[in-house]
C-alpha cells in the first residue's frame, strides 16, 4: 500500500465516519436500543440519571387511578411549572420597593405573554398548595404512612411547610397593597409570642416574638429589607430546600418499596390485562438479594408471580399524563382568571380587612381570637400531631386501602359531621355571643390565650378522637377521626376567614354589607 493509498483510505474512513456521525451520536445517547424488550425497558429506566429514581418495574396496584389520584405527582408537576415560570419572571422582576410594582406592571403589559406567565405561576402555586394538602390526606386515608414509610411522612410534613413558605414569601413580591398588608399580618403573627411574654412580663429580657419578626423582616416595618429577604427565600433558599426534601421524599418512596398496597393487592387486582407486560409470569425459581446489605423481606420468595409491569412505558405514561393534566389545569385557570394586582403598596393606607393568603385565613381566624395560639400554638400542635401519627398508629389493618382499618368509611362520615358541626357551632357561638373579653373586660390575656374558640375547637376534636379510640379500641380509628375533624376545621375556618370576615375582622354575610369607609 502506497503512501497515497493509505492516506486516501483514511480520507474514506473520515468520510464514512462523518456520514455515520448522526447515527452514532444517537446510539451513544440511547445506548441500549429502543425499549421494546423487558431488558431494554429496564435499562431505559436505570440507565438514565433522571429516571433511575424509579424502579424498573411498577406494581399494577400503584398504577390504579384510585390508589393515589396522582396527587403527589400533581404537586410535583405544579412545582416544576412554578419553577419554569418563576425563572422566566425573574428575568423582569426587580426586587426593590415601588420598582418591584412597576416591574410587575411591565410584566403585565409589555413583556410578551408576561401576564400569562405570571398567571400560570400564581395558579400553579395555588394548585401546589391544594394538591400538597390533598396528597397528605390521601396518604393519611390510605394509611400509607405506616412502617416502613414513617419517616417519609415526616419528610412530607417538611415539604408541606416549605410549600406554604414558598407561597407566602412569593406573596410580598408584587409590592401592591394586597401583598404589603398580607405580609404585615404575617409579620404580626410571627411576633405573636409576645402575647405570652407580655403576659408573663418577660418581654424585656426574652422578646422571642420581636426577634422572629425582626428575623423575618430585617427591620421594624415591611420595607426594602423585608422585600429582599422574601425574594431570596422565594427564589433560592426555599426552592433549594424543597428540591432537597423532594429528592429524599422520592428516594424514600423507592427504598420503602414503592407505594403502599394492601397485603392482598395481587388478589384484588385479578389477572393482568392482555396489553400489560407482567414479569415473573411463572413462579420464580430464584431470587437475588444482597442479604447482608439490604434489610427487609425479599420481594419474590414464596410470593408467586408479582403483578408488576415495566415502568417504561406504563408508569411514565401515567406520570407524564398527570403532568400534562396539571399543566392543562394551570393554563386554563390562567387564561380564565388573572392574578390579582392591586394598587402600589402604601404604608399609610391600611387595607381593612387585611387578609393573609387564603391558606392562612384559617389561622388568621384563630389569630383573631388569640395571636399566639393562632399564629404559633395551634399550628405547632397540629404539626406535632401530624408528625406523631405514624409513630402512634402501628396497626397493620387497612394499609393501602382508602379509609381502611377500624372504623372505616362510617367513622369518617361521622367524624366529618362532628368536625363541621363543632367548627360551625363554636364559630357561630363566638360570632353571636362574643368571648371572654366581652363578658369580663378585665380578664388577664393569658386566660384568653389558652381559652379561646380556637383552642376550644382543638380540645373538642381531641376529646372526640379519644372517645373514638376507646370506642373502637384502635389508635388508627382515633387518628382517622382526628385527621378528618382537623380537615373539616381547616375548611370551615378558611371559608369563614375568606368570605365572611370584613373590616376589623367582623362577621358579614357578604362583602356588600361592609360599612363604607
Amino acid at each position: 500500500m502506497s503512501e497515497q493509498e493509505r492516506s486516501s483510505s483514511a480520507l474514506r474512513e473520515f468520510a464514512r465516519n462523518l456520514r455515520q456521525a448522526p447515527r452514532r451520536f444517537l446510539e451513544t445517547v440511547f445506548r441500549h436500543g429502543p425499549p421494546r424488550t423487558d431488558r431494554t425497558r429496564s435499562t431505559f429506566v436505570f440507565g438514565n440519571v433522571f429516571l433511575h429514581l424509579h424502579a424498573a418495574r411498577t406494581h399494577r396496584w400503584s398504577l390504579r387511578w384510585t390508589t393515589t389520584l396522582g396527587l403527589g405527582l400533581v404537586t410535583a408537576a405544579a412545582f416544576v411549572i412554578t419553577l419554569v415560570t418563576g425563572v422566566l419572571l425573574m428575568f423582569y422582576y426587580k426586587p426593590y420597593p415601588d420598582v418591584a410594582y412597576q416591574s410587575i406592571k411591565d410584566i403585565h403589559f409589555v413583556v410578551p405573554t408576561g401576564l400569562f406567565m405570571r398567571n400560570v405561576h400564581r395558579w400553579a402555586a395555588n394548585v401546589m398548595v391544594v394538591a400538597v394538602i390533598l396528597h397528605m390526606a390521601r396518604v393519611f386515608y390510605t394509611a400509607a404512612y405506616r412502617a416502613p414509610r414513617e419517616f417519609n411522612w415526616v419528610i412530607g410534613m417538611g415539604l408541606l411547610v416549605t410549600t406554604l413558605g414558598l407561597s407566602f414569601t412569593g406573596y410580598l413580591l408584587p409590592w401592591d397593597q394586597l401583598a404589603y398588608w398580607a405580609i404585615t399580618i404575617g409579620a404580626n403573627i410571627a411576633q405573636s409570642p409576645r402575647e405570652i411574654t407580655d403576659a408573663l412580663g418577660i418581654t424585656d429580657w426574652a422578646d422571642i416574638g420581636g426577634l422572629q419578626r425582626q428575623l423575618l423582616l430585617g427591620s421594624d416595618v415591611v420595607g426594602e429589607e423585608a422585600l429582599i429577604r422574601f425574594y431570596l427565600l422565594h427564589v433560592m433558599l426555599l426552592p433549594l430546600l424543597l428540591v432537597a426534601l423532594l429528592a429524599v421524599h422520592f428516594w424514600r418512596v423507592r427504598k420503602d418499596g414503592g407505594l403502599a398496597r394492601p397485603a392482598d393487592a395481587d388478589r384484588r387486582l385479578g389477572p393482568p390485562p392482555a396489553d400489560a407486560y407482567p414479569v415473573f409470569t411463572e413462579a420464580p425459581r430464584k431470587t437475588y438479594q444482597l442479604a447482608a446489605v439490604v434489610r427487609g423481606r425479599t420481594a419474590a420468595v414464596g410470593n408467586g408471580p408479582e403483578q408488576t409491569v415495566p415502568s417504561m412505558p406504563h408508569l411514565f405514561y401515567a406520570e407524564l399524563g398527570v403532568f400534562m393534566l396539571t399543566t392543562l389545569i394551570c393554563l386554563a385557570l390562567s387564561l380564565w382568571i388573572d392574578a390579582p394586582l392591586k394598587e402600589l403598596a402604601n404604608p399609610n393606607v391600611p387595607e381593612n380587612p387585611a387578609k393573609a393568603p387564603w391558606y392562612f385565613l384559617g389561622l388568621q381566624e384563630c389569630v383573631s381570637f388569640s395571636a399566639f395560639m393562632g399564629g404559633v400554638g395551634i399550628p405547632l400542635i397540629v404539626l406535632a400531631g401530624l408528625g406523631l401519627i405514624p409513630y402512634l398508629d402501628r396497626e397493620e389493618r387497612g394499609t393501602g386501602v382508602w379509609c381502611g382499618g377500624p372504623g372505616g368509611w362510617p367513622l369518617v362520615r361521622w367524624a366529618t359531621l362532628f368536625g363541621l358541626a363543632a367548627a360551625i357551632g363554636v364559630e357561630a357561638f363566638a360570632i353571636r355571643c362574643g368571648w371572654l373579653r366581652e363578658w369580663f373586660p378585665d380578664i388577664p390575656q393569658l386566660v384568653i390565650t389558652f381559652v379561646n374558640p380556637g383552642t376550644l375547637l382543638a380540645a373538642l376534636y381531641a376529646l372526640f378522637s379519644l372517645f373514638v379510640v376507646r370506642k373502637q379500641n384502635s389508635v388508627r380509628a382515633g387518628a382517622l377521626a382526628l385527621f378528618t375533624c382537623f380537615l373539616c376545621g381547616f375548611v370551615v375556618l378558611t371559608i369563614i376567614g375568606t368570605y365572611f370576615r370584613g373590616p376589623n375582622w367582623e362577621f358579614f354575610w357578604s362583602p356588600a354589607d361592609w360599612p363604607k369607609h
Binding site: 398504577l63 387511578w65 412597576q102 406592571k105 411591565d106 403585565h108 403589559f109 409589555v110 410578551p112 405573554t113 400569562f116 401592591d176 397593597q177 390485562p273 396489553d275 400489560a276 409491569v309 412505558p313 406504563h314 405514561y317 401515567a318 407524564l320 399524563g321 398527570v322 400534562m324 393534566l325 399543566t327 392543562l328 393554563l331 386554563a332 390562567s334 387564561l335 394586582l341 392591586k342 394598587e343 402600589l344 393606607v349 363604607k516 369607609h517
Partner: protein, 553 residues
C-alpha cells in the same frame, strides 16, 4: 395502559390548544395591534410595534402612544381611526413630558380600560376630556388669580376694544392683518400670561397707530383709559394656555371657599384640606350616595350641590350654587392634584408660590374678600345664615362701618372670634399678611360706602353706669337674640373676650343706639313698636353690664 396513554394524549392536546390560545391572545388580539394596523402614515402603513414615551425624570413610561400613534413623538401625517389622531397643539410637547403627567391614567398599561384607569385598583384615573386642562394643576400653581368679576371686567374690555380683530385668543380672532392680506396678524395671546407681555405694549401700540405705517394701524388702535388698561392687564396675565382653568380658580376666589378650606397651606381649618382634592383615589371614595358614574368629577359636582347628601353628617352647608358654578368649582377642584415631581420640573409659577411666598390670589381687597370671607359674610358683605349654623354678621353694613374703626375691623380679622366660627386670619393663624388685612378693610368700606368711621376722641373705656340696671335692660331687650348669658343665638355672641377687648365703649354704645339697618339688630336710640327708646344712661348701663364679660372665664 391505554387509559394513561389517552390521558397523556388528551391533556397534551389540551395544553397545546391553550398555548395556541395564549399566543393568539398575545400576538393578534391586542387592541393596539389592530389600531396600528389600521393607521396609515405618510409612507404607507405604520410599523406595528409597542410605542412608549419614557421620561426618566418623571418616572413615566407612557405607552398611550401605542394606540394614540399620531401623538407619538416624530409621527406626522398619521391617518386612520380617530384614536390615532395627532395631539391638539398645547403648551407642552408630549414627547418631553409624556402623557400621564397631565392626563393621569396608567401609562404603563396597553389596554384601554387599564390605561384610562377605569380598572379597579388604579388610584389615578384619566381626566375626562372636558376637564383635560385640570391636568395643569399637577405642576402649575397659577398665582395672583383675581376674582371672577375682575376677570370678566378684563374680558369685557378685551372684547370692547376689539383686540380679537388682530390677536388670536384660544383659537378665536386674529383675522385683521396690518399691511393687507399678506401681512402678519397680531401675536397669539393665548399664553401671554405665561410668557409675559411687554410692559410698554400700550405705548408701543399707540406709537404704531400714530406713525401709521398703513391704514389698518391707523384705525385699529386708539388711546385707552387707564382703568381699562389695568383690567386688561389682569385679564391678559390670566391667559396661560389653560382655557377655563383660571376662570374656575377665579370662581374659587369669589365664593370664599378658602374661608373653611386650606389649599397649599392657606385657608381656614373648618373643612378638609383641599390641596390634593383632585388626586383622590376613587377606589377609596364613597360613592354610595352619588348618582351616575363613580368618577371623582361626579362626586365633586354632587357634593357641591348638596354636601350632606354625599357625606352624611357633613358640616358644609348647601351653598345654592348655579350649575355653571358647580361645573367651574368641580373643574378647579380636579386641578388640585399637586404631584411629587422633582423640583427641576417645577414651572415658574409653582416656584414663585412655594419658594417665594407669591400668593395664588390677587392682592386686591375684592379678591381677598372673595377668597376668604364671601362664603360666610356674603358676596356683598350682607351677612349670611346657613341652616344649623350661627349667624355671620353683615360686615359691610353702613351702620357698622360708621362706628367701627379700621383698627377694630383689622383686629377682628386678625384675631377672629375664639369660640365662634370666625377664625383668626392673622399671619400666624390663617396666614393673611397685614397689608392684605388692610386691603380687606378697605374693600369693606367700599362695599358699605362708608369711607371712614366717625371720629372717636373718647378713651376705649369711658362708660359709667349701673351695671345692675344694665343687666335688667339686657334681659329685657337683648337676651332674646344674644342669649341670656351673651352666648349668642340668633344674634352673635357678645360674651367673647376678643370682641370685648377690641371694641371700645363708643363702638358698643353706638351699635346699641343705632342698630344695624337691614339686619335684625334694631337701633335702640329710637323707640319702635316692640321697644322703647333707650336713653344714653340706659345704653351706658348696658355697656357696663356687657363689659363685665370681658374678664369672665
Amino acid at each position: 395502559m391505554n387509559r394513561n396513554k389517552n390521558l397523556l394524549l388528551l391533556s397534551s392536546l389540551g395544553v397545546l390548544a391553550l398555548l395556541v390560545a395564549a399566543a393568539v391572545q398575545e400576538n393578534i388580539l391586542k387592541s393596539w395591534r389592530r389600531i396600528q394596523g389600521a393607521a396609515r402614515g405618510e409612507a404607507g402603513p405604520v410599523d406595528v410595534r409597542l410605542r412608549q414615551i419614557v421620561v426618566p425624570g418623571l418616572k413615566a413610561a407612557d405607552r398611550c402612544v401605542s394606540c394614540h400613534v399620531g401623538m407619538a413623538p416624530g409621527e406626522t401625517g398619521i391617518a386612520g381611526p380617530s384614536v390615532v389622531a395627532a395631539h391638539p397643539p398645547v403648551a407642552h410637547d408630549p414627547g418631553e413630558y409624556g402623557c400621564t403627567a397631565c392626563h393621569g391614567g396608567q401609562g404603563r398599561a396597553t389596554e384601554e380600560a387599564d390605561a384610562h384607569g377605569a380598572a379597579p385598583f388604579w388610584p389615578e384615573p384619566m381626566l375626562e376630556a372636558r376637564h383635560a386642562y385640570a391636568g395643569c394643576g399637577t405642576c402649575h400653581t397659577h398665582v395672583r388669580v383675581p376674582n371672577e368679576m375682575a376677570l370678566e371686567r378684563g374680558q369685557r374690555v378685551f372684547e370692547r376694544l376689539d383686540c380679537l380683530a388682530c390677536h388670536k385668543l384660544d383659537g378665536r380672532g386674529g383675522t385683521l392683518r396690518p399691511g393687507g392680506a399678506g401681512g402678519m396678524e397680531g401675536p397669539d395671546l393665548s399664553r401671554v400670561g405665561a410668557a409675559g407681555a411687554a410692559v410698554d405694549w400700550y405705548e408701543e401700540h399707540l406709537r404704531k397707530a400714530r406713525e401709521g405705517a398703513d391704514a389698518t394701524w391707523k384705525t385699529c388702535f386708539g388711546p385707552t383709559e387707564e382703568d381699562a388698561r389695568r383690567d386688561l392687564d389682569v385679564y391678559l396675565a390670566s391667559r396661560v394656555g389653560a382655557p377655563g382653568l383660571v376662570e374656575a380658580k377665579a370662581l374659587f376666589h369669589t365664593l370664599g371657599c378658602r374661608g373653611c378650606h386650606k389649599v397649599n397651606g392657606v385657608g381656614g381649618d373648618d373643612g378638609p384640606d383641599l390641596t390634593r382634592a383632585g388626586a383622590r383615589d376613587p377606589g377609596r371614595t364613597d360613592f354610595t350616595h352619588v348618582p351616575g358614574a363613580p368618577t371623582l368629577a361626579n362626586w365633586q359636582a354632587e357634593h357641591l350641590r348638596d354636601p350632606a347628601k354625599i357625606v352624611p353628617g357633613s358640616l358644609m352647608p348647601a351653598l345654592g350654587l348655579t350649575e355653571e358654578q358647580v361645573d367651574g368649582l368641580t373643574f378647579y377642584l380636579l386641578s388640585l392634584r399637586k404631584s411629587g415631581f422633582p423640583e427641576a420640573y417645577w414651572p415658574k409659577d409653582r416656584i414663585l408660590a412655594e419658594r417665594f411666598g407669591e400668593r395664588e390670589f390677587a392682592a386686591d381687597g375684592a379678591t381677598l374678600y372673595g377668597t376668604f370671607c364671601a362664603a360666610c359674610h356674603g358676596a356683598q358683605g350682607q351677612g349670611m345664615r346657613y341652616p344649623g349654623m350661627s349667624v355671620a354678621p353683615a360686615v359691610a353694613n353702613a351702620d357698622f362701618l360708621a362706628v367701627a374703626a379700621d383698627e377694630f375691623i383689622a383686629g377682628t380679622v386678625e384675631r377672629g372670634r375664639p369660640g365662634r366660627r370666625m377664625p383668626a386670619w392673622g399671619e400666624k393663624e390663617g396666614g393673611l399678611r397685614p397689608q392684605e388685612v388692610r386691603a380687606v378693610v378697605e374693600h369693606l368700606r367700599a362695599l358699605g360706602g362708608v369711607a371712614a368711621a366717625e371720629a372717636d376722641t373718647e378713651p376705649p373705656h369711658w362708660a359709667e353706669g349701673d351695671a345692675e340696671a344694665g343687666a335688667r335692660l339686657y334681659g329685657a331687650y337683648c337676651a332674646g337674640c344674644h342669649g341670656a348669658a351673651g352666648e349668642g343665638a340668633d344674634g352673635p355672641a357678645l360674651k367673647n373676650r376678643v370682641l370685648l377687648s377690641t371694641a371700645t365703649d363708643t363702638y358698643l354704645a353706638q351699635t346699641i343706639a343705632r342698630g344695624r339697618r337691614g339686619t335684625s339688630m334694631p337701633g335702640f336710640g329710637n323707640a319702635s313698636t316692640v321697644h322703647p327708646a333707650l336713653s344714653a344712661e340706659d345704653t351706658e348701663a348696658l355697656v357696663r353690664f356687657i363689659r363685665k364679660w370681658e374678664n369672665a372665664p
